[in-house]
Amino acid sequence: MSDTLKNQGPVTQPPASAYFIAPDTQIIVQHTLSIIVDNEAGALARVIGLFSGRGYNIESLTVSETEHEKHWSRITIISKGTPKVLEQIKRQLERMVPVHRVVDLTLLARDKGHDKPMERELALVKVAGKGEHRVEAMRLADAFRAQVIDASVDHFTFEITGRTSKVEQFISIMAPLGLVEVCRTGIAALSRGPEGM
């Protein structure tokens, strides 16, 4: 899903082509963007097409209609890039016709004195096994506060919600205990405090 836009490093000799490629020495950072769009045909394709067409990264993407009466959807995108590229992404999104608002939640959190916005992810994790492995998987799921949503004598399916790091850790612990498959929703995020975006 990610088209990388890498640091080119310092260039001592400019390339002799019809194009000059400037070295980009800015650091790569990760930001969370919240986008309110009209829930109409092709709106998501427009947003994703912008990212692929202009070579921006998508690390995670979540979308669903959040205001049914207005037919508005909220898209949450985690993107990586230089601060300049991230600023450009926001501006390119803002000029799309179905886009109502774009907020860089990471910058907003920083303005409010927080480290980052609230970010949560949900994963469904299917683990198959018997005997000691099965008991161990159940014990760990308890420790991680994962719910069992489906079970047979041969398997469990857990639902786990939390920060990405917690979900990652849970999945990696399950790997040797008979991990079959995983489905993750991607990140949902809101800013802290009483105000909306």
Binding site: P14, P15, A16, S17, A41, G42, H71, R91, E94
Partner: protein, 605 residues
């Protein structure tokens, strides 16, 4: 995401305004009429036949039948750029729509307002690989400002009105409305443009007064200022041009322009430095490089303008005025960003300059101007005249001399001839210069000239062309003859793809791979085959007569102007070099051209 697209229809409207019942095809005609459309470029086909049937039964909208949908798109671009109105195109589904992709992208990159209506297979067949089906909204999504697939005839009218709004508001651009054939046949309610209340697209046009004040303060302190203007001035309308000229007079600043902005300040004006960029003048590029305050108005720091970015105007404070926020800071950091329509911002800028400068001690610019005069003295557009063969630069100079007293519109194709036209045809008015800048579309000029001529039937419209480019949309000669559009095609014929060859000489060891056209058509006979007039000229002493004959011929003309084969386009900023490292014509010996880009650089290509 839902699969259907709905616009909120006006609810509870009084009966008198509730609109009338009609078919989708009738709505298209009504909507075009209500949006002030008088001319339409198009090509019929199965999926738009209901609309063509309605066109046949009315006389308010003139339909110009092109010979290829790409021609319709470029013609509409020429129409739009020369009038300031949206250009309108009507094409069929499938190949009709895909043939429009090039003009749509061209219009997107050059900010030309275009409304393209495409037919689509009937709604129940969408997705079934039906005859002449393609995913038009999918294909055109990245090359339009916005596009719509109309799934309900009751949405059609408002979508069409919104399409005109989106195409023309803010930074102009192309839009596509894809109309399935069953929607054209269906009957629904027509709503007039006044009932379009859901305008989600309302770009900001008024600049922040505090930012403009900061900009004026910086301009008042400038000892070495420059105004760097672009197509945004022209897109903003005649008032923006007038205000820009007023600002130049008030401030006494030197002014340069991009390819797209030529004509916003008169080339005959004393503050004019000529075009800047890769093939811009020495004085324009040196002034950009050495300035202390750069006022960028409606331009976007394109890579053809900036050259080497890390050496671009290193010591200047940059003020950037643009209606599109995403253009500001995209390439070059703006110290004073101003988001707004050029005309409105200039109005504030002129007023604030008057207020703030009255009684103030402004820096003396005479040293700066004498420096500029030294650069001008370098005479960077010089070329060696020739008595035996026509120099392409000379041909443009003579065309200018013989046409400047008329209402003349110039279009071009893409390549060396385009740069020579930009350098040597002095544009004194806006909207008189139509060229494909951003996308660089060969084949643009002839259909664009056609579109200009349809909008200005009594004007002189000349497509300055190259022998290679002209063959990309030559079929529109037939359209010009049919519609009595007396366009003049002046081909600077050097039998090469000149700009390709120039780059091969610079970068690829003079190996001229496929840049020579071995089987050139006889353009005079070709003109005659189309029912136009053909003229050929090979000698400089016969050139004026040939140009006069071209201008005075009442119908369309192809003028095969045979120029020296191996002339190259200078001055030039070689790739990877800065503005102050230009290659000037008198230095451009074969050896210098060969070594302008060194070996290590070539390997990095």
């Amino acid at each position: 995401m839902t699969q259907t697209q709905t616009l909120e229809r006006p609810s509870g409207a009084p009966d008198a305004n509730a609109g009338i019942e009609m078919t989708g095809a009738e709505m298209v005609i009504h909507a075009l009429r209500d949006n002030g459309v008088t001319d339409l470029f198009g090509y019929p086909g199965g999926a738009v036949l209901p609309i063509y049937d309605e066109l046949h039964q009315q006389e308010d909208i003139r339909h110009i039948l092109v010979r290829h949908e790409q021609g319709a798109g470029h013609a509409a671009e020429g129409y739009a750029r020369s009038t300031g109105k949206a250009g309108v195109v009507l094409v069929t589904s499938g190949p009709g729509a895909t043939n429009m992709v090039t003009p749509l992208q061209d219009a997107l990159m050059d900010s030309v307002p275009l409304v393209c209506l495409t037919g689509q297979v009937p709604t129940p067949l969408i997705g079934s690989d039906a005859f002449q089906e393609c995913d038009t909204v999918g294909i055109t999504r990245p090359c339009t400002k916005h596009n719509w697939l109309v799934s309900d005839v009751n949405d059609l009218a408002l979508i069409l009105h919104e399409a005109f709004h989106v195409a023309t508001a803010g930074r102009p651009g192309p839009v596509v409305v894809d109309i399935p054939k069953d929607v054209q046949f269906a009957t629904g309610t027509y709503y007039p443009p006044s009932m379009l209340d859901k305008k989600t697209y309302e770009p900001r046009v008024k600049g922040d007064p505090d930012q403009i004040r900061l900009a004026v303060a910086a301009m008042m302190r400038a000892k070495k200022p420059i105004l760097y203007t672009g197509g945004g001035v022209i897109n903003s309308g005649p008032e923006a041009t007038r205000l820009l000229r007023e600002l130049v007079e008030l401030t006494g600043f030197p002014i340069t322009s991009t390819l797209m902005g030529l004509g916003c300040y008169p080339a005959s004006g004393d503050k004019w430095l000529g075009m800047l960029g890769m093939h811009g003048t020495y004085e324009a590029n040196m002034t950009m490089h050495d300035c202390d305050v750069m006022v960028c108005i409606g331009a976007r720091f394109d890579d053809r303008i900036t050259g080497r970015l890390d050496a671009f105007s290193p010591g200047s404070t940059k003020i950037h005025v643009d209606v599109d926020p995403s253009s500001i800071g995209k390439v070059v950091h703006a110290d004073v960003p101003i988001i707004g329509d050029v005309g409105l911002v200039l109005e504030d800028m002129v007023r604030m300059w008057r207020e703030m400068s009255s009684g103030a001690q402004l820096p003396d610019l005479s040293d700066w101007w004498s420096q500029i005069d030294t650069w001008r003295g370098r005479n960077s557009l010089a070329y060696t005249p020739n008595d035996d063969v026509i120099m392409p630069q000379y041909a443009i100079e003579r065309l200018h001399a013989l046409s400047k007293d008329r209402e003349t519109y110039i279009t071009t194709e893409v390549g060396q001839h385009q740069m020579w036209a930009a350098q040597f045809y002095g544009f004194d008015e806006p909207n008189r210069w139509m060229t494909s800048g951003g996308l660089g579309t060969m084949g643009y000029g002839l259909p664009a000239a056609l579109g200009v001529q349809i909008a200005h039937p009594d004007a002189l419209v000349v497509d300055i062309a190259g022998d290679a480019s002209i063959q990309m949309c030559i079929q529109e000669m037939s359209c010009a003859v049919q519609h009595n559009a007396p366009i003049k095609i002046m081909i600077l014929n050097n039998e090469y793809m000149g700009m390709v060859r120039q780059w091969q000489q610079l970068l690829h060891g003079n190996r001229l791979s496929h840049s020579y056209t071995e089987a050139m058509p006889d353009f005079v006979k070709l003109a005659e085959a189309y029912g136009a007039k053909g003229i050929r000229c090979t000698k400089p002493d016969q050139l004026d007569d040939a140009i006069r004959e071209m201008i005075e011929t009442p119908g369309p003309v192809i003028f095969d102007c045979c120029v020296v084969a191996l002339a190259n386009c200078f001055p030039m900023i070689p790739s990877g070099k800065a503005h102050n490292e230009m290659l000037l014509p008198d230095e451009a010996t074969d050896e210098a051209v060969g070594s302008a880009i060194d070996e290590e650089g070539k390997r990095l290509v």
